[in-house]
Symmetry: C2
Subunit: 596 residues, 2 copies
């Protein structure tokens, strides 16, 4: 399937909504508008011409495991070489290790493009950036000097090794062990499953970050430590040394992302080094978890964009039936199906969910940048809290959204949507994993409600709602936007009240936390997106009033806001009512009475 | 994946809700409770032991086309032979052609089991029953005498050949031609796509029902006729005669139902016979379309049941994390995940959607039976109207439900849900076609709103609402059910008001028909299911008060009603608000401004 990055919308979000140039100035890097636009154009060309064309075949061909070696699909090796050689791998890497230090606010646009072009290809590079973060923060100087530069360049890749057969969500159950050796290193033994890119033929070396237990570790999650375990142990000169005692035991047969290897990794007394403090592994891993979850959110966004593009192309070309109000293309045997209201409903649902999530992604990326790079410590802390609140929403809502939007894409194609060669069903299959990995979406919702909301009594969320309440106030002053602003403002007030109720219920009955979490996350996301759409409408209205060109573009923003508020924001109502339905009706039925 | 028919719930629906024995008496066939239960137990055994075990492999192996011959997956031939030999194929066939004349109210339970066990296997037999209906109603005595008996027995199968590359939803565009020959037969020429079971190695002969145009036919749908075009022309003695000039040109590579062949069928001057009147083909085809759409609805239901069973099994066995209120299985390393409220939310969503749809399926089957077999003509007509109103809801809502429930199944399994060997992802892939074929779900919604609702000004729907309003009145008199009855009664009133609004909007602006249709169908289905759940609760409450055994079973019905009304019925709110959002925001954006 062909793919073209939505550059105009990305520029709208980066420049017009979030002033990325000013953002870069604040962060003290020298990126200006011209340079950023140049990078985005190069990125668009790279993803359209080098990556997207590989995607369909990678699904048919899949990966092969022979004698412990994984072969990736045709074209992936050459594309990965370009990815490294052209500097795409090092985009966000730290400057002192030859990275380019791009802020997430720019990088997220490129990463979205990668996801749209091929989720399978992104499997191999996606976790390296997070591993770089964890190593950079927790590694010894020696480890950093040895391993970081080739990981930043993409010459070497990184993985996250958490899951074991008996330990998925519940890492307390993990059994992999690490025994100290005399030289300060460790012997790591155990079996990990679901390791994305655990073995492949793209990079010279693979650096595994592995959670394991020390011999004297306490039980549960407080006894888990993080280890760096390379496939090849680096020599002092940074070359490839001894092959470590680890191997790929199997690759999984999956629903989708078939071009990305998902490996069983066996560590048989492999040499590893402790990252961070002993028994602090989970906290160390969370350094990369936020990044990984943000990236998975971008996967949902990228799949959504690809599905929208495919559906829109088909809806404009496919001729079938006449418009309800008569022929729209009387010179043709039938009208293009984009004339039908229900096809438009699906397309606009796709468009406004994708573009809405793109705004929220950029907003979150900006917070991640400020958390790490704002000159002021208090501002760094504030941005960190905001990012932490939003990450579970981005991960869960974007990936649910991606699945829904991909499914609309299939539906717009009719029966052809079910046929492999059209590429639409692959998007559904590929995206389905995103709701599961890096913490299922149910776990994201628990994180949002329990840690992020109850953790500070709702203070951070209240501030976020306040921010958008100001947006709605500004919008209310524009006659063209006043009606929409009123609807959104009412929802923001409802959100505030609902938050108080959710907290009260959770304090009264601990089961309410899990009973409300998913619906509350969904509710929050729908209202939040309405806030972003209103902000987009204000920006578009300003541009129109200031006589900017591209009138069609800005009017499309206004029409999209209208659609989102009138036809999608109502979904918040059901989530609100459902969660107010309470925990009792969930907990009443004994487990043995579910089936008869 | 193992599968066990939900016999207890089926008996609840058939006997306790719909008095199937009385129904059979009214229809004048000799089926009693004992016989029906015996058939259901045999059916459960057949589907569990002979069909379900083939399903996983059929997905991996798929179908092969070589030299025009399609090979079905391993085991399908033997299973199909049993299906015919044991009389499952002839269950609903007309008595005068050696069918067993079972009512749909009984058959729908068996057909649901078939769908749960293997959607791919059902591809081959699913349309034969509809073809029998069409031939029985529209065929000449000679055609019926020649072709019906072996089709009823399942020795020969039937297909529906409608779609062409340029003509899917819009049959006005179809080009296949039929030229009259001197002997009263026709030469049929053209290419049809997406023909389920168009070619296979299971049955001796395949009888294609083909839509085509006569040479002098008017343009559009008024110039379409229906033809019977057999693979082998039957001899006068009912044997296999000349091989007809038709062939399978290709089989599709699909997202799912890979064990079912989906064929491109080329008719190269094949001999065919007219069914019914010239240019009345669409009306004739609709004889089988209602049955086909009902069967597709059952596919959604069957997939849902299979996904629920898989998820429930896993949720009871998988140990992960502790309950929010502390350890529930302190002797184990962690609690079974069914203790977690959010897992219960997914399981109960599956359970109550599936069981709710099972009640609606039986209700609709009963109407179909009465339409054909009630002794009183007025009652036949009334039942026909009721069935016509419900068929699009059954087809669209059940298949959307099946997809959702399959997706919950994947989610309950976590990462394992994405792995093929567990079988959950296959259910998602298999079920995705059901939202597309036999008229996309968008087309079902248009049919519901335009033909069924506007067609009689809402009279039939009003009668349906009234029926459930009486159920709610009865429930309101039971102290234990009064609160739930009030909620449902309020929704029924809201449904009535909304119907009036929908009709008014549609009369004001024709675009509102397509702008409201999907949300109105979904709204209707959620409220309707609440009515059925309330009815189930009344029945369960009666049983408990009358001291019936199986207290757990009946209490589970009460708990399920509570869950459905509190946590799923709220979805109706969003659909209502969304459709009231109107058509204007769908139609405003010019087609060329959707993407930038």
């Amino acid at each position: 399937m062909s793919y073209q990055a939505p550059l105009r919308d990305m520029r709208f979000v980066l420049h017009e909504l979030f002033d990325v140039s000013g953002h870069c100035q604040l962060l003290g890097n020298g990126l200006d508008r011209e340079l950023i636009d140049g990078v985005l154009e190069e990125a668009a060309s790279f993803t359209a011409n080098e990556i997207a064309p590989l995607n369909r075949n990678s699904d048919e061909e899949g990966c092969r495991l022979e004698n412990g070696q994984v072969s990736t699909p045709r074209g992936f090796r050459a594309a990965y070489r370009q990815y490294v050689d052209n500097g795409w791998a090092s985009m966000t890497g730290p400057l002192e290790f030859a990275g380019q230090g791009f802020p997430q606010l720019v990088a997220c646009a490129f990463h979205e493009m990668l996801m749209s072009a091929s989720l399978s290809f992104r499997v191999y590079s996606g976790l390296t950036e997070g591993a770089v973060l964890a190593l950079h923060k927790h590694g010894s100087a020696e480890l950093k000097n040895t391993y970081l530069a080739p990981m930043v360049s993409g010459q070497w890749t990184g993985t996250m090794c958490l899951t074991e057969p008996q330990a998925g969500t519940d890492l307390a159950l993990l059994r992999t062990r690490a025994e100290p050796k005399a030289d300060g290193s460790y012997r790591v033994s155990g079996s990990k499953i679901f390791i994305s890119g655990g073995e492949q033929d793209l990079s010279e070396n693979i650096i595994h970050l592995v959670l394991a237990r020390l011999p004297d570790a306490p039980a549960g999650v407080k006894g888990i430590s993080l280890f760096l375990v390379p496939k090849f142990i680096a020599t002092a000169e940074g070359g490839l040394g001894e092959r470590n005692a680890l191997s790929c035991g199997a690759i999984e047969h999956k629903m989708g992302i078939k071009g990305g290897s998902t490996c069983v990794m066996n560590f048989d007394g492999a040499t590893g080094w402790l990252l961070g403090e002993a028994n602090q592994g989970l906290a160390c891993m969370f350094t990369m978890m936020n990044d990984a979850r943000f990236q998975v959110g971008l996967q949902g966004l990228g799949i959504g964009e690809a599905a929208f593009q495919g559906a829109l192309r088909y809806a404009r070309e496919r001729l079938q039936s006449r418009g309800l109000n008569g022929a729209q293309a009387p010179d043709k045997p039938a009208d293009p199906i984009i004339v039908h209201p229900d096809v438009r409903r699906m397309l606009l649902t796709q468009k406004t969910l994708v573009e809405g999530c793109r705004m929220l992604a950029a907003y979150t990326a900006r917070q991640l940048d400020l958390e790490h790079g704002h000159p002021d410590a208090a501002a760094r802390k504030a941005a960190g809290k905001r990012a932490a609140l939003l990450i579970p929403i981005v991960k869960a809502f974007f990936t649910d959204m991606g699945q829904e939007v991909a499914s609309h894409g299939v539906q717009v194609y009719g029966g052809h949507g079910f046929i492999r060669e059209w590429g639409m069903e692959q998007l559904m299959r590929d995206s389905r994993i995103t709701q599961l990995y890096e913490g299922t979406n149910g776990i994201q919702a628990l994180d949002y409600l329990r840690r992020k909301l109850l953790g500070d009594g709702g203070a951070e969320l209240s501030a976020l709602i306040g921010e958008f309440s100001e947006v709605a106030d500004r919008a209310a002053q524009r006659p063209q936007l006043a009606a929409l602003a009123q609807v959104v403002q009412a929802r923001l007030g409802e959100w505030r009240e609902l938050t108080a109720e959710v907290i009260a219920h959770s304090q009264r009955d601990v089961q309410e936390i899990g009973a409300q979490s998913v619906d509350f996350l969904q509710y929050s996301a729908y209202v939040l997106l309405a806030g972003f759409w209103l902000q987009a409408a204000v920006t578009a209205q300003n541009a129109l009033e200031q006589g900017a060109g591209e009138v069609d573009f800005y009017q499309a923003k206004l029409a999209s806001t209208e659609f989102y508020v009138r036809r999608l924001l109502p979904r918040a109502s059901s989530h609100r009512e459902a969660l107010l339905g309470g925990a009792a009706c969930l907990m009443a039925l004994p487990a043995e009475h579910f089936a008869f």
